[in-house]
């Protein structure tokens, strides 16, 4: 009797494995999301190289201005607030997309876009101010590393805003189709990942850079 139960359990186990073997590939949403996750991780690895360069070159100011003399932490705090809130509102857009609410999706995406543009405007003003004060990327190795790292993040945010506007237009024109939902999943991942990189930027570049 007991042996029979074990054998039956064993059979069911085998059947389960056999079924799993015949399930075929995972749903497309999972494959797409996972692939994009791999891309994001490779992007983070690329940023880690820029961070390493910045950390190594932090003291190489060639007699020029140091981070403590250049950085305005007040505007960095405002930038951080913009990007953090835009990441939160992007999460609201994800929920709106999942319940297929066109109205709330477009509102949340518009707010995300405005906050992202505010971030870019503050960053652009900061860069223009630095260049005007003679602290452009060619001044010292420290400033080259600074402009490369922060500028690369800024370029990612700019690309993200173009993608965001494309998503708004696609959802408006084509509705919440499965492929549009997959694209939006990738966009949301991208936007949240940019916020994670910004956490490293404001901590390492600005806070540690002005302490050193």
């Amino acid at each position: 009797m007991a042996a029979g139960a074990v054998a039956r359990g064993y059979d069911r186990h085998l059947v389960g494995l056999a079924d799993a073997g015949h399930e075929g590939p995972a749903p497309k949403r999972i494959v797409t999301g996972f692939g994009f996750w791999i891309f994001l991780l490779s992007d983070i690895v690329m940023f880690s190289c820029f961070f390493a360069a910045y950390a190594v070159l932090l003291g190489q100011t060639a007699g020029g201005p140091t981070g403590a003399e250049l950085f305005n932490l007040r505007s960095v705090a405002v930038e951080t607030a913009c990007l953090l809130l835009s990441s939160f509102v992007c999460g609201m857009a994800s929920i709106a997309a999942d319940v297929s609410s066109h109205f709330w999706f477009q509102i949340a995406m518009a707010v995300t876009c405005v906050l992202g543009l505010a971030f870019l405007a503050i960053e652009f003003r900061e860069f223009a101010d630095l260049v005007a004060r003679g602290a452009g990327p060619s001044r010292s190795a420290f400033l080259s590393a600074f402009f490369t790292l922060v500028g690369c993040h800024g370029l990612h945010v700019s690309a993200g805003i173009l993608w965001l506007l494309t998503m708004m237009a696609q959802v408006f024109a084509k509705g919440f189709r499965a492929d549009i939902r997959r694209r939006f999943l990738c966009f949301a991942l991208f936007w949240h990942a940019l916020d994670i990189i910004w956490v490293a930027v404001f901590s390492v570049v600005y806070l540690l850079g002005s302490a050193a």
Partner: protein, 128 residues
């Protein structure tokens, strides 16, 4: 056995996907936002204060940054330790390994060079 059967048929989750009602999900994002604001504010406060022992400030800033990245991963990107998230976590672990090798390795090597080698400008002077 039936448990095993169920687990083997439970589909994975894409990164960023999460199950639950709208209210629960909004609360999740709000929790993440609250924690992130708290950690960011602490970070900025610690950087500008002289209330704490000065050499501890860089360590504190780095610890706060890593904690905040964890908050973002859990509450915004929904990377969890559940069985439906194994692939996402494994990829993340590999990415983190490379990041630590690149950053840690560069800092280690360059600090060693700075310590053991003559500064570059003096070296250039000697070669003239």
């Amino acid at each position: 056995m039936s448990d095993l059967h169920d687990i083997s048929h439970r589909p994975d989750l894409a990164p960023g996907d999460v199950e639950g009602s709208v209210t629960i999900r909004v609360l999740g994002y709000l929790t993440g936002l609250g924690l992130a604001i708290l950690l960011t504010a602490t970070s900025f406060f610690v950087a500008g204060t002289d209330l704490v022992w000065l050499p501890s400030i860089p360590v504190a800033i780095i610890v706060l940054a890593i904690a905040q990245m964890g908050v973002h991963l859990v509450f915004f990107l929904h990377i969890t330790t559940g069985p439906d998230n194994t692939n996402n976590v494994m990829a993340l672990a590999f990415g983190l390994l490379i990041v630590f090798l690149v950053i840690g390795g560069s800092l280690w090597i360059m600090a060693n060079l700075n310590q053991n080698m003559m500064p570059m400008d003096e070296l250039m002077q000697m070669q003239r």
